[in-house]
């Protein structure tokens, strides 16, 4: 197992914490390494504590860590809050001229006092770049890689901005080389000819996955943590020939996308739990009118306004059950940004094929954690619109009864007459309260779930040995932390669920009935997945590691929980 190096940078909002962290990650990736970033910030624009963790390794990194190897402290609060997280022998880079108090720091921690403000000629905003230069020197990073990156980042700014940034980085870099030579580590030594990688977070992956999936129309009302999806989409509309519209509220967002989809455009909306509360009626409308729709729901701590900038997996049961009556919905929960890209793209095919809403559940962690991946590939992806007809058909019936539950879909302007109806309806779409229409249309809609589980749903993935002492069950974004914990837990395997509706009941049952011991791990209060598993399979999972404080589940916490649990069992045996 290769060592993962963990660097944390902290400061006030507005001090460039996130951009510095991301630049370091880019330098690492361009130098041939894998990275993972985790960011924390309050719901404020200026002030408040911001922190970003960047983890670097020669192998894939999938989770944040509770422990730090190097801390860049842009203010006192960073020292006070994070020095206890430092590993023995770790270091702190800080500004000599900021008169920070380091008296309480343990003697084995290296203190790298660098005159950062002196290097920036009084430009406060450059301190982070000088600190980045210092960190780079300490980790044997290549300064040229950073210089290229600065030029790229500021290419639209005047030349002086670039030269000031480069100079600050150089001064910070040289100071460390000259003064702390003996502490320099090989962590970021340039690896020649490594394959190109990209750094993406879940919001990036959602937006580019949607574009890859043939997105034509998006209406998204701003809400943390999915704002960056619209920030990415809005400037790309002309290039990729789609429309993004900011609506007046989430109710309008979902109804606009339903309208656009009814007219034939592949449509997307995105929101968080609170916004989805407003969308619930539209969710059912898409189901009833059999209108394809992709919804990305980025969860945050709820209920109400909750924890706007923190994470939770608290909306699973809500998304599965947010409706009066019944309608078929496809609910997916990707476990990392690559899975988000692939599922967002696939969601548009599924929505068209089954003419019903497809929800992709993400959360603040996965939306905003950056991770490195090999560059995505899209040349093999085929857009499939399902039973979709834009030319005149003979004796057309929009809701004709079909064995697979899917009727031929047409659009206004095609000369095919039909009524897409929110009321229960006949095969033509006319409102009807006849028993025969109600029963046959309800059955036709609901049978789509069975067709989908047969034709499209893969079995859930089991990581680790096929049989193990303990089986961890988790869904969505906790995947990365579980995988990392698994590295130090030899007799444990991991069932990761990404399809929540339709639900892979039989395969889950088969795997779990073989398990000697099952542990459920979720970022919510009540163990919502464990409840769903019990409802579907009858299997009760009583050992649950649940966390609902807004923070991610760290691999260390998982390891500790499993070890403690198996110690207990051994004692009981």
């Amino acid at each position: 197992m290769s060592k993962i190096f963990t660097l944390t940078i902290g400061g006030e909002a507005g001090q460039g914490v996130k951009s510095t962290g991301l630049m370091l990650a880019k330098v690492a990736v361009r130098s041939g390494y894998h990275t993972f970033d985790y960011t924390e910030y309050p719901s404020l624009i200026r002030g408040g504590h911001n922190v970003m963790q960047v983890r670097i390794s020669t192998e894939e990194v999938t989770a944040p860590s509770q422990k730090i190897d190097l801390l860049i402290a842009l203010n006192q609060e960073t020292i006070d809050r994070h020095s206890k997280e430092l590993n023995a022998g770790a270091g702190i880079i800080f500004d000599t001229e900021a008169s920070l108090n380091t008296s309480k720091i343990d003697g084995n921690i290296h203190l790298y006092a660098v005159p950062l403000s002196h290097f920036t000629n009084g430009q406060e905003l450059l301190c982070n770049i000088a600190a980045l230069g210092s960190a780079l020197a300490l980790l044997s990073g290549d300064l040229t890689v950073l210089k290229y990156l600065i030029e790229e980042e500021f290419k639209d700014k005047e030349a002086k901005v670039i030269s000031d940034n480069v100079k600050a980085a150089e001064l910070g870099y040289n100071f460390v080389r000259e003064n702390f030579q003996k502490d320099i580590l090989p962590t970021l030594k340039l690896i020649e000819d490594s394959p190109q990688k990209m750094i993406v977070n879940g919001n990036d992956a959602s937006a580019i996955g949607a574009i890859a999936g043939g997105l034509q129309f998006a209406a998204i009302y701003p809400m943390s943590p999915i704002n960056n999806i619209l920030h990415i989409l809005a400037p790309l509309q002309e290039k990729y020939q789609f429309i993004y519209k900011q609506p007046e509220d989430e109710i309008s967002a979902i109804n606009m996308t339903i309208g656009a989809s009814f007219a034939g455009a592949r449509s997307l909306t995105a929101t968080s739990g609170g916004g989805f509360c407003l969308m619930a009626e539209g969710y059912g409308l898409a189901g009833m009118t059999e209108t394809p729709l992709v919804i990305i729901e980025g969860m945050r701590g709820g209920p109400a306004t909750g924890l706007p900038t923190w994470s939770e997996q608290g909306d699973l049961k809500f998304i599965l059950d947010a409706h009066q009556g019944d309608f078929p919905k496809i609910v997916l929960a990707p476990g990392d940004s690559k899975e988000i890209f692939e599922m967002a793209r696939m969601a548009f095919n599924l929505a068209d094929k089954y003419q019903t809403p497809v929800v992709i559940l993400t959360d603040k962690n996965i939306c905003e954690n950056d991770q490195s991946f090999e560059v995505f590939e899209n040349s093999q992806f085929v857009i499939n619109r399902g039973k979709f007809f834009t030319t005149k058909l003979e004796s057309y019936r929009r809701y004709s009864l079909e064995e697979d539950g899917v009727s031929p879909r047409s659009i206004p302007g095609s000369s095919n007459f039909f009524l897409a109806n929110s009321d229960e309806h006949t095969e033509e779409g006319f409102s009807s309260e006849e028993i025969s229409d109600r029963v046959s249309q309800m059955k036709k809609r609901m049978i789509k779930l069975a067709t989908c589980s047969k034709e499209d749903m893969p079995p859930p993935r089991l990581y680790g040995p096929s049989e193990a002492e303990t089986t961890i069950v988790a869904w969505g974004s906790t995947k990365g932390s579980v995988l990392e914990a698994l590295k130090s837990l030899p007799n444990v395997n991991f069932l990761h669920l990404t399809w929540l509706s339709p639900f892979p009941t039989e395969s889950i049952k088969n795997i779990l009935l073989k398990s000697r011991h099952i542990v459920d791990i979720e970022n919510n209060y009540s163990g919502q997945l464990a409840e769903v598993i019990c409802e579907k399979t009858g299997i009760q999972i009583t050992d649950r590691l649940l966390k609902y404080d807004g923070r991610p589940i760290y691999p260390e916490e998982i390891t500790e929980y499993i070890v403690k649990l198996s110690n207990c069992q051994m004692q009981n045996a």
Binding site: E238, P247, A263
Partner: protein, 284 residues
């Protein structure tokens, strides 16, 4: 003119004498005259007595949720701006449940025609007060008289930025049909407030009340003057119900300002997404 058959097998279920019959007749008449058919037109309705109208016209349509007809229509127009898009909505639907959508659609000047069936009452739910019910009106929800004050959809539309604002009577089919044609020809958000009786539940705004008190704005009236239009829209009372076009100005519609759909509607655009290397490169 092609032989359009706009009838469906479904017989209207409205009460005899309902104002909706007039709106349906006026709309069908305009369809036949203008050749609005299934190759060029889409209809959207909300929920209320008016919403049933979609079952009685052989034109492709979407019957949505209570209050949400306008956002659905907006999505349709953005996806295919070649279509004539009509919204049928009611006073409860559009001004109560869907008030937010109404003002924002006006503000954005989407190229839609909104036909507001205004009977000043919630009638499908058998007669409760609505945002256009007069102060003091006794309804099932206000047995002691309505304490709320009504607002005028005409005033609200003008204030919110709609560029074609008119009022008509449901039983003047000829005039209403003519207005519907003009509203659709207008580039931008057109709204026609159709005053109509609810013969079953509205004992105040009866057919006779409207017949006795309306007048048409005459030719000297300046439809481009917003202040005049605003003042005129506030007029309401005995012999004081103005009908006709209150406000009509030219202003670019929302859709005309989207470069992507300048030449072709969105649904007909083809963009190659196979090669996304440019996009991926930004993240390397």
């Amino acid at each position: 003119m092609p032989n359009l058959n706009l009838d469906t097998p479904v017989k209207p279920t409205w009460c005899p004498g309902c104002g909706n019959f007039g709106v349906l007749a006026a709309f069908k008449q305009a369809c036949l005259k203008e050749n609005w058919n299934n190759s060029n037109t889409a209809l959207v309705a909300g929920i209320g007595c008016h919403g049933h109208v979609l079952n009685f016209i052989r034109l492709t349509s979407f019957e949505g949720l209570h209050g949400r007809a306008i956002p659905v229509a907006t999505g349709i127009k953005l996806a295919n701006n070649r279509l004539n898009v009509f919204v049928f909505t009611g006073d409860g639907d559009c001004l109560g449940e869907g008030g937010n959508h109404f003002i924002h659609a006006c503000r954005r000047n989407h190229d839609l025609t909104v036909i507001l069936h205004d009977n000043a009452l919630y009638s499908l739910t058998t007669g409760q007060t609505s945002p256009t019910s007069p102060h003091g009106a006794k309804t099932k929800s206000t047995p002691l008289g309505n304490i709320d004050n009504p607002f005028s959809p005409v005033t609200l539309a003008i204030a919110s930025g709609a560029t074609f604002v008119a009022r008509a009577l449901s039983n003047d089919v000829e005039k209403l049909s003519e207005l519907i044609t003009k509203a659709n020809a207008h580039q931008g958000l057109s709204i026609i407030d159709v005053l109509q009786p609810c013969v079953s539940f509205n004992k105040e705004y009866t057919p006779d009340f409207y017949k006795d008190n309306f007048y048409y704005l005459d030719e000297s009236y300046d439809v481009t003057n917003k202040e005049v239009a605003f003042t005129k829209s506030q007029e309401w009372g005995i012999k004081q119900i103005p009908l006709g076009i209150f406000y009509n100005i030219e202003k670019p519609s929302y859709e005309s300002q989207i470069p992507q759909i300048k030449d072709k509607p969105l649904v007909d655009l083809v963009s190659d997404r196979k090669n996304l290397e440019d996009l991926f490169k930004k993240y390397t």
